[in-house]
């Protein structure tokens, strides 16, 4: 049984780093661990052992039991087509200009591709623990909704609208004269595009059985996983973190990243020694204002939801090696493997 940890949250909160740190801790606890990441900073990728960024798990040369792979959605979409459609249709799909456009632009597409890629790794049975750094669209919520959205896309509702109730053959798909509701679409977008869309959806429909079965598996894996929502004390990321709760996702833990020590608030004897002392007193007073702000937002957050929270200290330098990643869990007792069910 593979334990899955989904690390999610708004942009710029450091979730890739938190995901990497959880992965390092799991590997050091003796679990065969895979970290799936989306877009790591170059130095973080190096720390994870991802010298070349690819879809295939690379074992970390410096830490036994840790592997990492990228979630490359363009490559994953091709894989989805070949996995679920007959070979000749898959070929036609991946060369269709709409396929490329849908693969990169369909809002749930990248998330779904990543979720299916994750599922392949879960079902391979090779890993004790998989840590997923979720794609950033809509603060990661898209990732959870993507199986449903994808089923709708390939389910043929639009195709039926374009072609009428019965599904005709691929050629001569729809007859505009018989479908007055299509006249507006035709004025706006033109008949040739609508035909192209209908042909595309007709081909895409061959993936329906595969994708509807797979997307149900994915939903089960997502429900069984431990979700960690990463945020900072800033209003934007906090709003994203609350949204997870509003849509019914129950995180195991909310991580407040870039936390400052509450001791900075306590009244300390000011330094009295010379010119530097004045500057350092003033500096501490400024940062204490930030500590106060952070504590207020954390208290406000905990007043709204009952999810346990963990504070991860603000580091002047982002971790660039295993040592730095190790220090993150070491410095945050509430962020423990136990809490994440590992």
């Amino acid at each position: 049984m593979t334990g899955v940890v989904l690390v999610t949250g708004g942009g710029g909160v450091g979730k890739t780093t938190i995901a990497a740190a959880v992965g390092v801790a799991a590997a050091e606890a003796g679990h065969e661990t895979l970290v799936l990441t989306v877009d790591p900073a170059r130095r973080l990728a190096t720390a994870l052992g991802l010298e070349q960024l690819g879809n295939h798990p690379e074992p970390n040369p410096k830490l036994k039991g840790l592997s990492a792979a990228m979630l490359d959605s363009a490559a994953s979409w091709d894989a989805i087509a070949y996995r679920h459609a007959p070979a000749d249709i898959a070929e036609r799909l991946v060369t269709n200009p709409l396929f490329d456009a849908v693969a990169t632009r369909f809002p749930s597409g990248q998330s779904y591709a990543a979720a299916e890629e994750m599922t392949v790794h879960i079902e391979s049975g090779k890993w004790d623990v998989i840590v997923v750094d979720t794609p950033p669209a809509s603060g990661g919520i898209e990732f959870f909704a993507s199986p449903t959205r994808m089923r709708e896309l390939v389910g043929g509702r639009l195709l039926r609208w374009l072609t009428g109730a019965g599904l005709p053959g691929r050629r001569g798909l729809f007859n505009l004269a018989g479908r007055p509701a299509l006249r507006l679409a035709d004025t706006l977008l033109g008949g040739p595009l609508l035909e192209q869309v209908a042909e595309f959806l007709f081909d895409l429909r061959t993936t329906y059985d595969g994708i509807s079965a797979k997307s149900v598996d994915i939903e089960q894996h997502l429900r069984a996983a431990s979700t960690v929502v990463v945020t900072t004390a800033d209003p934007g990321p906090l709003r994203e973190a609350l949204r997870f709760h509003e849509v019914g996702i129950k995180p195991a833990l909310v991580v407040f990243n870039r936390a400052l020590p509450s001791e900075w608030l306590a009244h300390e004897e000011p330094l009295v020694d010379g010119r530097a002392a004045a500057a350092l007193n003033e500096n501490l007073a400024r940062w204490a204002l930030e500590v106060r702000r952070q504590e207020d937002s954390r208290a406000d957050f905990s007043g709204r939801v009952a999810t346990p929270v963990a504070a991860v200290p603000w580091l002047a330098d982002a971790p660039v090696d295993l040592e730095g990643l190790r220090a993150i869990l070491a410095g945050s007792p509430e962020l423990s493997l136990d809490r994440l069910g590992i």
């Binding site: 710029g12 639009l158 706006l188 033109g190 595009l193 020590p261 350092l280 500096n283 204002l289 982002a318």
Partner: protein
């Protein structure tokens, strides 16, 4: 206005609106995502779907993607605002979910329509974050290449020209002086340059010098003063390194202990007013 998530894009967008209004311009600020950050920074709970004055000289609105499509369909059908749209709208919504760029181009079109009105001296749009904004601003181009004929194609070509005209529109990027935001900001220059002119890079949350050397900080007794000094110096060292890679542009300071979004925007506006 765009920038990597978490850099304070909406706050700077609101602040720019405040600066322009202080100088007597008639300003419209538009939130082009469902995110309500912009409204909060301008001191309102929510922005409406049409321009409303939210403080003296500043109007605000949001362009909701599904609402904008329905509105567009109504315009095309000459249907009144309250009538239910029925299967035609449902079908077109599904179509818009499948053919990439349709929704984008309708939201962009709405913003460009406002930008063309004499009523506004300046229209500021809080666009999707970097990473999404490239494909977003290229939507007219995508549509023009996918759609061989039809009314949408003609509109797409017009929008493409308006976005590419530096006399009409420009893209301002907000960033912080950290690795990923800077790297993504620089990448945007390659990805977007033909679609729109990047008119400014604004660096947010810069720390000022501590004024005490590393050695002096380290010589202090262990405790909060020393730790806070080391954090400040360490963060600033990283900022200097990454800020050095960016083109020149307005520099905004880190705001300590500012609680409400509205207060953040006004404080940034004070600084931005001096920088511009």
């Amino acid at each position: 206005m765009s920038g990597k998530g978490g850099v304070g894009k909406s706050a700077v967008t609101a602040a720019l609106g405040i600066v322009a209004a202080r100088r007597g311009l008639s300003v419209l600020t538009i939130s082009m995502t469902e995110d309500l950050g912009l409204g909060a920074h301008l001191g309102v709970d929510r922005l409406g779907y049409s321009p409303q004055e939210i403080r003296p000289g500043i109007h605000g609105m949001t362009i909701d993607r599904s609402y904008a499509l329905d509105e567009y369909i109504r315009l095309q059908l000459h249907a009144p605002r309250i009538a239910p749209l029925g299967p035609v709208a449902r079908g077109l919504n599904a179509l818009a979910d499948t053919v990439p760029g349709i929704r984008d181009i309708i939201t962009i079109g709405k913003a460009l329509f406002e930008a063309g009105r004499d009523r506004w001296d300046l229209v500021i749009a809080d666009a999707p974050p970097l990473g999404q904004v490239t494909s977003y601003l290229r939507a007219p181009e995508t549509i023009a290449s996918l759609v061989p004929v039809g009314r949408v194609r003609d509109q797409a070509l017009r929008y493409q020209a308006q976005l590419a005209d530096p006399g009409f529109s420009g893209l301002a990027l907000v960033t912080t002086a950290e690795e990923l935001p800077v790297v993504e900001t620089l990448e945007a220059f390659d990805g977007i340059a033909e679609a729109v002119t990047i008119s400014a890079v604004i660096t947010n949350r810069l720390l000022s010098p501590l004024g005490v050397s590393e050695a002096t900080v380290l010589a202090q007794p262990a405790g909060a003063h020393r730790d806070a000094g080391l954090l400040h110096r360490g963060l600033r060292r990283g900022q200097r390194r990454w800020n050095g890679q960016l083109p020149d542009g307005p520099q905004l300071p880190y705001l300590f202990g500012v609680h409400t979004p509205g207060e953040v925007a006004v404080r940034i506006a004070d600084q931005l007013g001096e920088a511009l």
